[in-house]
Amino acid sequence: MTVDDHTLAQVAMSRDEYARLLDLLDREPTEVELGMAGALWSEHCGYKHTRPLFKHFPTTGQYVLTKVGEENAGAIDLGDGWCAVFKMESHNHPSAIEPYEGAATGVGGILRDIFAMGMRPIALLDSLRFGPLSISHNRRLFKGVVAGIGGYGNCIGVPTVGGEVQMHPAYSGNPLVNAMCVGIGRREHLLSAAARGVGNPLVLVGADTGRDGIHGATFASVELDEDSDQRRPAVQVGNPFMEKLLMEACVELAEQHRDWIEGLQDLGAAGLTSSAVESANRAGTGFELDVALVPRRERQMTPYEVMLSESQERMLVIPKREHLDDVLALFRKWELHADVVGRVTDDQMATIRDGDAVVARIPIAVLSDPPQYDLEPIRPAELDRLHAEDLEAHPDLAPAEASAAVLRLLGSENIASRRWIFRQYDHQVLNHTVVRPGGDAAVLWLRGTSRGIAVATDCNGRFVALEPRVGAAMAVAEAARNVVATGATPAAITDCLNFGNPEKPGVAYQIEQSILGLSDAARALGTPVISGNASLYNEVPEAAVLPTPAIGLVGVIEDIERHLEIGFHAGDTVVLVGAALAQPAQTLAGSEYQALTLGRAAGRPSIDLGLEVRVQRLVLDAHRRGLLTSAHDCADGGLAVALAESCMAGGVGLRGGSPDLGARLDAALFGEAPSRFVVGTRDVAGLMELARAAEVPAVVLGEAGGTVLAIGPVALDVAVVVETYERALPDLLSGVDSE
């Protein structure tokens, strides 16, 4: 077979990689073999540019049961025999082309990762990034993605409990759609995705196989361009109803018939190819698969198409031979098709037949050994220029304009209420949801126990762009703070690494430094990485996305009846924990206030991980001692926005008086220094004493009460604050184009 450039481009394989494949095989690959190798060696499946850096991640800890990379998702111990599995994954490129189906199938895909491990999904979250909503194309993507997430999650009956969304020009044309799922179950029901037991059948269950999504993994591994719209056939279409049946059948298998099966694996990117190869690789076995046995929904599909189809809602089951009939009967009860399509072998080969003809026979080791590239990072020179910019030189906010500035931030697209989004998501089904969307983190109750979990996602790409190592650490720290604000102890993280083209030195620098920063913070905070996903080549011809290592973090709550929420209660004393009120202008670096007033990001964000750890421990300790009545992370929009959000949630004002706000009013109100909480307490003396002992700065701001939010020169009727905050997103989304 002579391979032309077009064929290689289709599988996104370079000439050098093709030469490597020839070398490993010692012969030319068949068409099917080339397709399989191309898919598994793609950036999306093979992590060619990021895997060498994964060694930096802390991967072990007191909560970790299943480490990163061992299975489809990581697992943590919740105590009393319960565990949680979670993972976040990107579906960026499909969503750029077809926002509804792209987002919907992103949700479907991450759900399969979780129930493939035998756990019941109980929470979905979404970390979303779009270009500014002033542009109609971005509004279309935004609405399509939200509708797709709701369409899939609402139908399948798994609550969407949280997430975040940010807008920035760098995401125009290349939105980010990262979906996270958390599942829970008993430890003894955890399943493995390994094709163990030579002679055991491979059973394909769920949807019939069509031509949808062929080369989806490849598509996810190249930059978007003007012709990307023509890749629409590479976008899959979701059927949440089918997946609901699959989910129930798989959870029933795990909970009631764990002994019937050896392995369970979902079909995601690269379809049958990756699921069969990965599960055989995990077990050190091989497999033989006959494409003629695969049920199809289209005629005359070639073996190549069957092996690379990314038709959704399919699972690969490896039952024990003696329980094959039991397993088939269970799927039949759930009104699902299930067919034997192959068997486990001991030859460590992937053998694909089409009836009698062998169309591929390739060592699992070759397919599982993608080329690895060391990044060639170069620190972009502009970082030094941005860091050197003197933020003190920008004029400060005039006291008379302070109230208006607070309203401007609360009405901005990055801070305004997300109710327009989450009221379209079922966030309660399954009766686990204790803290609904709108707080710092969602809280879910493990019914039947006193325990719960708190979940949040975070990342501010502006910080990462200004100083990747610091920005990535800040993302982990903020996710942990959000979870701590509910009274939960941070346990572990999942990451979704969204970057541009790794072959460009500046992007390579962002990737390398972000992974280092993420690891710094994860190590300091004791939250190992248990799962993750990398999405590179997030570029359009104009530019790459902001470097966005999105973090999903799960924390554990010992007593669900004592969780914390963000709302103030009248009569409580409000305390800022973690910093003094006065802040230098440098804390505005990368802030929302800076973006709104300067129109760009400049300066150098920073984080003191030692302080971060002390502050989080202090808040948890104070909560354990019953000293806190509310807690809220101080992040986007700074102190003023945090106070406004706690006032709105509590339906109460703040008598903040006229404290010394220092030399920079803008920095004191809107600076985004990390490691800060706004808490409510009924025992100021006790809290201040504890803070002193923990060497954490703390300052009393005032008392919650009345109907006015007053702090320094700011005085706002809470009703006006609510009106501004709640109306902004609906207004922006129905807005007139300013293109």
């Binding site: 609402n154 109803f241 049946l245 309660q428 089904v429 949801t433």
Partner: protein, 232 residues
């Protein structure tokens, strides 16, 4: 009393209903839609969800499931049936309740707390409720906009068959309190004999203070009171 919680392909509130019924001391069994047996003293619960993915039309396929003949027979001999959300849609499609549920007036799915006021106390589901007190219960639906022609609505009102209306926290029935455009703020209706109720809100989610409230339990307790069992 025992409950039979029906499970169609795509039903997702079955486990929530089982949990809520447990809270008031009612044991339940889950009944797969292919089964055909319902015991005379069972409370039949058609739980929420997207039966058959809501493909074609909400509830339009589920009404042909084998269990539905048994549900019809159960209702005909006076047995109790409650349909919640998708269950309400199925009962309408099956002709067991009047009217239809159209797409929400907002054209969007809505998940939020609403307030309900019992409009008629002439049914086992509502006889124990306080009509002056608004119940806080969540909704979660894209198609809960109740519609029937004026003559039907007049008849329902005249014969005490409007079980619940959407209201504000003080119990006032206002346009602002209507989350989906339902005519006359109707949230739930009864059949002629009063033994079949359909409602869009989810009482099974308002079943535990730890989950944000337990106002929904009043409805189950009302049923228990009507059949002469003391609730837990």
């Amino acid at each position: 009393m025992r409950a039979a919680v029906l499970v169609f392909p795509g039903t997702w509130s079955d486990s929530d209903c089982v949990y809520a019924l447990e809270q008031v001391g009612v044991p339940s069994r889950r009944v797969w839609h292919r089964e055909t047996r319902i015991d005379p003293d069972e409370l039949v619960v058609l739980a929420g969800g997207f039966s058959y993915g809501d493909y074609l039309r909400c509830g339009a396929i589920a009404r042909f499931s084998p269990i539905m003949s048994a549900v019809q027979a159960h209702a005909a001999r006076g047995g109790l049936v409650i349909g919640i959300c998708n269950g309400f849609q199925i009962l309408c499609e099956a002709g067991m309740l009047p009217g239809v549920l159209m797409r929400n007036a907002s054209l969007q799915f809505r998940c939020q707390d609403v307030h309900l006021r019992a409009d008629s106390l002439a049914s086992p589901f509502t006889q124990g409720l306080d009509p002056t007190r608004a119940l806080r219960v969540p909704i979660s639906h894209g198609e809960g906009n109740y519609f029937a022609d004026d003559a039907t609505l007049d008849r329902l009102e005249a014969t005490g068959r409007v079980a619940f209306r959407y209201c504000d926290a003080s119990g006032a029935v206002t346009p602002e309190a209507n989350p989906n455009g339902s005519l006359r703020n109707i949230a739930g209706v009864l059949n002629e004999a009063g033994n079949v109720l359909g409602m869009m809100p989810h009482p099974e989610r308002a079943c535990d203070p730890r989950l944000g409230g337990d106002d929904g339990n009043a409805i189950w307790r009302s049923v228990l009171g009507a059949v002469g069992v003391s609730a837990r």
